[in-house]
């Protein structure tokens, strides 16, 4: 039997289950991702996409199974700033009195001292990150005054400033303008070349075909997982979405 070197995997989730007060949200889910891979997470609302993310970040505890991040526990991944989570625009309070700079600086909190005083290196990391998402003109803009796309880029910058090797993105393309979409897709290619691993949830089938090497179809558990070209078939998509034809959902395939 071939021995598996877990160190090779950035994410290795094995038979994980999550339940909330006895209600099962996710069961027997598996996922293995290597450095430089981009994986799409596809499923209906309530299929467990967010739960999957929460399990990987340690925001919820798994009731069964095992998660290794770079061969280590979720706890040590948190300590090492390994995972960055980029929330959905709807998942954050856009009226919170906070500027772009302050949000991006939050990416550095985990590696600062207890008072969270930014060092020279933190300031530089934040500057660089903001420049990479092209928001340098909006350093002190409150996030409430940003467009949906700009807000999305702010949180991407936070993930960049964090210098995480794994990025989890919840609906990165929803509610963004063309410019942001182009910028995000360019960043994805850069991240891939830097050896970062990306797991993104999306409703948009075109984006899956465009960016994702791998796709994970889930409906409370894994429906199908593998290379996008092999797994992302109309049959699998139909199963994932509870029998509704993908043509009906997304229009006929071109």
């Amino acid at each position: 039997m071939e021995t598996i070197n877990y160190q090779n995997f950035r994410i290795d989730a094995e038979n994980i289950c999550v339940d909330y007060n006895g209600k099962v949200a996710l069961y027997d889910a598996n996922l293995r991702l290597k450095p430089g891979q981009i994986c799409g997470l596809v499923g209906m609302n309530g299929a467990g996409k967010t739960t999957f993310f929460n399990a990987l970040t340690g925001f919820v505890n798994i009731s069964k199974g095992k998660i290794r991040i770079n061969g280590e526990s979720v706890r040590s991944a948190q300590k090492d700033q390994t995972i960055a989570y980029v929330p959905q625009n709807e998942g954050i309070d856009s009226q919170f009195p906070i500027s772009v700079w302050d949000v991006v600086m939050m990416g550095r909190y985990g590696s600062m001292n207890i008072f969270r005083c930014p060092r020279e290196s933190d300031v530089q990391a934040v500057k660089d990150a903001i420049e990479r998402v092209d928001l340098t003109d909006h350093l002190s803009t409150p996030i409430g005054n940003l467009s949906g796309g700009q807000r999305k880029r702010t949180f991407l910058a936070r993930a960049i400033a964090q210098r995480a090797s794994i990025l989890l993105l919840d609906e990165p393309f929803s509610g963004v303008d063309i410019r942001t979409e182009k910028l995000i897709s360019e960043l994805f290619i850069q991240f891939k070349n830097e050896g970062k691993t990306i797991l993104l949830s999306t409703h948009d089938m075109i984006h899956v075909r465009e960016f994702c090497d791998l796709v994970l179809l889930i409906n409370k558990t894994v429906v199908a997982y593998g290379e996008t070209s092999e797994v992302f078939t109309p049959e699998n998509i139909t199963t994932t979405f509870g029998g509704i034809s993908p043509d009906f959902l997304f229009g006929p395939e071109s």
Binding site: N21, N54, T57, G58, F59, R75, Q78, K79, D80, Q81, I83, A84, Y85, P87, G91, I92, D93, F96, P97, I98, S99, D102, M106, G107, Y109, G110, I114, F115, R116, P142, G144, N145, R158, Q162
Partner: protein, 290 residues
């Protein structure tokens, strides 16, 4: 009238200061207001207004029991304040009843227990001062307790200022980068209980929630920067306390009610005239004239 003839603006301010109890009340209420105002920024952003109401009402039996046993009343209040939150969490988790219902039924239950206890324990507990506050009749031991608790809360909030902001804003990110969210949650609850304890001396149990949410809400309308929000919140809380006490002195009004009314008026003023978020959006109006 004779009274008016010697009332200058100067004496309106200084006359009450000749009384020892007024100096004490002004100082202590300002301190309490500062603490509650500081915390208020977090509570309004976290959406914990109802939680603040619950905790502040739930401390009632704790205060009564502590008085009866001769313990520091802050200790009893603190235990019941945190206990109420634990009970709310427990019932919410173990039943299908919605959270706001659970909060409502738990805190009214605790409050009722407190009232029943007062009627049963015939001691020198002054129900009126617990319910409505008595900043003018604050005792020396209460002063010491208040200063101690206030400093404690201010120090805790200052140390964890940024972490608490992150916790209110995006707890998921906090957790992801290894920040102890569980600790921050209970830290905020602890500060809430402690602030409720000191706040109730100024305005009483029934109105203390106003001290915990109104200054934050006012500040929220006036700024887009968190640090400014904290400063404005603290200042508006202190100013309201001073106004409330002076007004209650000159017009012989209930002090706690006057303080809270002053806060409400400041909020309404911000609601109407805040530069960006007010009804009349003064910034736009002025921009139009340029």
């Amino acid at each position: 009238m004779e009274l008016c003839s010697f009332l200058t603006l100067d004496s309106i301010i200084t006359d009450p200061l000749t009384h020892d109890f007024m100096r004490k009340a002004l100082l202590m209420s300002s301190l309490v207001a500062a603490v509650c105002g500081f915390l208020s920024s977090y509570l309004t952003l976290k959406g914990w207004a109802l939680m603040g109401d619950a905790v502040s009402h739930s401390v009632m039996p704790g205060v009564v029991v502590a008085y009866a046993l001769g313990l520091p009343f802050s200790l009893g209040a603190f235990i019941f304040g945190v206990g109420s939150v634990a009970l709310i969490g427990f019932i919410k988790q173990k039943s299908r009843v919605k959270e706001d219902t659970v909060i409502g039924l738990v805190f009214t239950g605790f409050f009722a227990l407190g009232i029943v206890l007062v009627s049963k324990i015939k001691s020198n507990i002054d129900l009126h001062s617990i319910l409505f506050g008595s900043p003018l009749g604050i005792s020396l031991s209460d002063v010491k307790q208040t200063i101690f608790i206030s400093l404690l809360v201010v120090i805790l909030l200052s140390i964890f200022r940024k972490d608490l902001m992150l916790y209110c804003f995006d707890p998921r990110h906090a957790k992801t980068v290894g920040i102890n969210v569980f600790f921050l949650h209970y830290l905020l609850l602890t500060c809430l209980s402690l602030a409720a304890v000191v706040g109730l001396q100024s305005v009483g149990i029934i109105l203390v929630v106003a001290m915990l949410i109104t200054p934050g809400a006012t500040a929220y309308l006036l700024t887009d920067k968190f640090d400014n929000m904290t400063v404005i919140s603290v200042l508006s809380a202190i100013i309201s306390s001073l106004i409330g006490i002076y007004v209650s002195f000159w017009f012989d009004l209930e002090t706690g009610g006057s303080i809270v009314l002053a806060q409400t008026f400041i909020f309404l003023f911000a609601f109407l005239f805040a530069p960006r978020y007010g009804i009349f959006k003064l910034k736009k109006l002025f921009a139009g004239y340029k």
